[in-house]
């Protein structure tokens, strides 16, 4: 009796399951509702599918949380006063109509007239002053701004005046295109906690898109047809909808690119060069390195540990690295070998070629051995590896996060090169979070790091190398804990050089490069690419080096929408 009922229920279940699977017929569903959303599906020809920024569910839409907000929160919804164009190295007015230094410590921004928030309220100087003022909250991530900025006030509806304690010109330009402007009338009623950590899931911004919907693995943005930029800037982003999908895995992304389901992937795909060659995807260059350069990968020695506290030893280590082997063998030419100064190609004009010629380093195993011998590192026990000056054994560990396969391979090449020069380096692959913790505490020998991205000024790189004082926790810069007061003074001086004074900047950067190459506090390896591969089935006119093509940075990575990513959207053309 009991069994009879159970079997019947089960049969019903099985039938339901079978019919559910049978009625799909095995062909991909493509809903085509009019207006695109009735059938639950978006019209393919008006939608841009992107991936490569988000690794988990979209968590929040709070532009102040620039490290974990959903892709597009800053850039599509919230905007900045300026954008930065890496090609020209110039700031372009965005919400601002113009901006300039009135005197050495006063900067004034003129806003464009007629900008409105998505709720119809006008965007005024008050909103700008309010947004920058949020940095006064101690736990805010840009609190350090207010250690040298002393005031932000609205002079009239379209004028904002910033007054400075000390003018960090370089950093200020960086802030101008980095800091989002939020509507005071929406935010002023919120508690500090809500401001810093709120989800803000009904974002009201001034940008070209609004939040349409979100789910566990994607976020959908819809274009605003009354966006101010259409008139004022004469540009309109092409896609009506942008769907950013969180990264499932490389294999899945390659599959989706192959089927044309994805338009733009900003992930590192190990076989990207073969995808480009077989015309499955397009990238910025048709030949190596295929991608623009986005940041430098560095080998960071912990300068508080013997023998890494010795500049001669660090130089020998630098000369032992066979970068070409990494570029070719590990990356298949997707990256470029870094300049000895580590400055990105976009900053090439700041590289003092004379200093590099006399003090630079290159791959030279024999030279590395000589440097070690001259500095007193000898192989006393005949195992082919040198010992410390006091005769104790050297065994260094190079740690990179597990799962980062390209870095893991690169680390093996570095270890092999070091061994050939007589330096004992072994690799270890801890969990990424554990590693970032050890790195912050200074509990490591060697790590690879590429946290600093391209920006408007090489100052950001020098801050990364030399920043003092060294804290208990080094979260963002100077992981190697290298202390050189003279260099840090120079970095601060560089920060105070007006950004239009190229000669003044070069005078300082050249001195910094001399110190850097003589001391080798950190070893530049290669330029990581601005990973970007696109399909052309639905959208064309992707940025590339071809004649007449747009040259914007084709990425929606955090902070890159202000560096060309948004402009790229306005240049896309429907394929049909």
């Amino acid at each position: 009796m009991g069994t009879g009922i159970r079997v019947r229920i089960a049969t019903a279940l099985a039938v339901i399951a079978l019919t559910a699977t049978a009625c799909t017929g095995g062909s991909p569903v493509t809903g085509k509702g009019p207006g695109g959303t009735q059938g639950g599906a978006l019209p393919r020809e008006e939608t841009l599918y992107t991936t490569g920024t988000q690794w988990g569910p979209p968590a929040n839409y709070n532009p102040l949380r620039s490290w974990d907000h959903a892709t597009g929160t800053k850039g599509l919804v919230y905007e900045t006063l300026f954008h930065f164009d890496p090609n020209t190295g110039k700031l372009n007015p965005w919400l601002a109509e113009s901006g300039g230094w009135k005197d050495a410590k006063t900067y004034e921004v003129k806003l464009r007239a007629g900008i409105t928030w998505a709720d119809g309220e006008p965007l005024t100087a008050k909103d700008v002053a309010y947004s920058y003022g949020l940095g006064k909250i101690e736990a805010s991530s840009f609190h350090s701004l207010w250690s040298w900025l002393s005031g932000a006030e609205a002079v009239d509806a379209t004028t904002v005046r910033f007054t400075f304690e000390e003018a960090h010109y370089q950093e200020w330009d960086f802030t101008l295109y980095g800091q989002p402007v939020v509507p005071e009338h929406v935010w002023s009623g919120r508690s500090e906690e809500e401001i810093l950590n709120g989800v803000n899931d009904k974002p009201v911004g001034s940008g070209a898109y609004t939040l349409k919907s979100k789910s566990q693995d994607r976020v959908v943005w819809q274009r605003r047809d009354d966006w101010w930029g259409t008139k004022a800037l004469g540009m309109t982003p092409a896609p009506r909808y942008i769907v950013d999908v969180s990264n499932p895995s490389n294999e899945v992304v390659i599959g989706q690119l192959g089927q044309g389901q994805l338009d733009l992937s900003n992930n590192f795909l190990p076989g990207a060069s073969s995808l480009v060659k077989s015309k499955k995807v397009v990238s910025y260059y048709d030949e190596p390195p295929y991608m623009l350069s986005a940041n430098t990968a560095w080998l960071v020695p912990n300068t508080t540990r013997t023998p890494l506290d010795d500049a001669a030893f660090r130089k020998a280590l630098a000369a032992s690295v066979d970068i070409d082997k990494i570029v070719k063998g590990v990356y298949g030419d997707l990256v470029k070998k870094a300049d000895p100064t580590g400055l990105l190609p976009q900053w090439d004009s700041y590289v003092d070629k004379g200093v590099v010629a006399s003090d630079g380093f290159s791959y030279d195993t024999a030279g590395a051995k000589r440097t070690l011998a001259d500095a007193g590192y000898r192989d006393k026990d005949g195992d082919g590896l040198v010992e410390n000056k006091d005769g104790s054994k050297i065994s260094l560990k190079l740690a990179v996060p597990t799962g980062w396969t390209d870095w893991m391979e690169a680390a093996k090449v570095i270890a092999a090169g070091a061994k050939a020069a007589g330096i004992s380096v072994t690799t270890e692959f801890p969990d990424q979070n554990a590693l970032s913790e050890q790195r912050a505490k200074g509990d490591f020998d060697l790590v690879i790091n590429n946290d600093r991205q391209l920006s408007n000024t090489p100052w950001t790189y020098y801050e990364y190398m030399f920043q003092l004082p060294v804290q208990k926790q080094q979260n963002t810069v100077n992981f190697g804990r290298y202390e050189n007061p003279e260099a840090w003074k120079l970095v601060q001086r560089l920060g105070g050089v007006p950004t239009d004074d190229a000669a003044g900047m070069k005078a300082v950067t050249s001195r910094l490069q001399k110190i850097q190459l003589d001391e080798m506090p950190i070893i530049p390896l290669w330029y990581n690419g601005l990973w970007s591969q696109s399909t052309t089935g639905t959208w064309t006119n992707w940025p590339s080096d071809a004649e007449g093509a747009p040259t914007h940075a084709p990425a929606l990575w955090r902070n890159w929408l202000e560096m060309g990513g948004f402009e790229m959207l306005t240049q896309l053309k429907p394929a049909k």
Binding site: G2, A41, D217, E437, T476
Partner: protein, 331 residues
């Protein structure tokens, strides 16, 4: 009867307390510091700001209290259905994140458990009757039950997804569709569901079929069967009695299988990038999200306990011996 249930409930309550305690302990004594990783992700260079942030998060997550207080708070919050705030999907409450994923996991697990049990029993019972069938079901069953979940998942994805192109191999639904109660969406959902479901179903099926076959053969050779056939009872009647007796251990086995299948579901979800609890657990581990990890495990523990309890109730209904209080509490 009452005594039987009282004893069962006590065992479940104890299990739950132990599970919750272990669950609370594991992430806290794992190496790593979620607050440090959150602060370092925020890329705050200024020490005062970093300290303020660290203090804020410590306070938010209650890490600044003594351990025993954290433990009591954990229970207090738990009983109010509050699992804390996710670190990884900050600042979404863990319960929201889990409830988003739960339907996907249940949608895989329940059909896979029940259908494989039913189909497996049926196949096993048939196999016990016919030599020809036995020669196929038995090796096939052994083969299936010995297969690791992820392996069969990968094989299915390769054969039916990549090569044949019949089914999508990742995600819960297509990129170009949004969740809604439309026929399109439901069809798309079902389409994505097939492969993950199959991989769980097939592995579980093999074990049931073998178990059932052996039990039926054992029952058919037992004294009461011989006695019945000596009395000249029809073969069908004897088989029905044998089936009823053979099913009892299978029901007990179902309770045990549940826990194993949860693990299978986790692996399967990760292989197919299926947006259920399994993918969440992996992400929570990778991102040191204590609260999400705890929440997910608790969901699973509670789920398995409830399922076991249901099976106990069913057992009382189908096994007269438990009703008379002669046996019980063996499972």
């Amino acid at each position: 009867m009452r005594r039987y249930f009282a004893r069962k409930l006590l065992v479940y309550a104890l299990t739950f307390v132990v599970a919750v305690t272990v669950n609370w302990m594991i992430p806290r004594f794992m190496p790593g510091d979620p607050v440090a990783s959150m602060v370092s992700r925020a890329r705050v260079s200024q020490p005062e700001a970093a300290e303020a942030m660290r203090g804020y998060y410590n306070n938010l997550f209650g890490f600044d209290e003594p351990v025993w207080q954290q433990y009591l708070h954990f229970w207090g919050a738990l009983l109010q259905g509050d699992f804390g705030i996710s670190v990884w999907v900050f600042p979404t409450p863990v319960s929201d994140v889990l409830l988003d994923a739960l339907p996907y996991t249940l949608g895989l697990m329940l059909p896979a458990v029940l259908l494989s049990w039913i189909a497996g029993n049926w196949a096993g019972a048939l196999a016990a009757r016919r030599k020809v069938l036995d020669n196929t079901v038995l090796p096939a069953g052994y083969l299936l039950t010995a297969m690791p979940y992820m392996w069969i998942a990968v094989i299915l994805a390769w054969a039916l997804g990549s090569k044949a192109g019949w089914f999508p191999i990742s995600g819960g639904y297509s990129l170009d569709i949004q969740p809604s109660w439309s026929l399109d969406f439901v069809a798309d959902l079902a389409h994505h569901w097939v492969l993950p479901f199959l991989s769980l179903f097939l592995v579980a099926l093999g074990g049931w079929a073998i178990g059932m076959r052996n039990m039926i053969i054992y029952e058919l050779e037992s004294d009461y069967s011989s006695y019945l056939s000596a009395l000249g009872a029809p073969q069908r009647l004897i088989r029905r009695y044998a089936f009823r007796n053979a099913v009892l251990p299978q029901i007990t086995g179902l309770a045990l299988q549940l826990g194993v299948l949860v693990a299978g579901a986790l692996v399967t979800e990760i292989v197919f990038a299926y947006p259920g609890l399994g993918s969440l657990i992996l992400a929570a581990i990778q991102n040191q999200d204590f609260f999400l990890l705890q929440g997910a495990f608790l969901f699973i523990v509670i789920g398995v306990l409830i399922a076991n309890f249901v099976i106990d109730v069913v057992y009382v209904l189908v096994d007269p011996r438990t009703r008379t209080g002669m046996a019980g509490g063996q499972s």
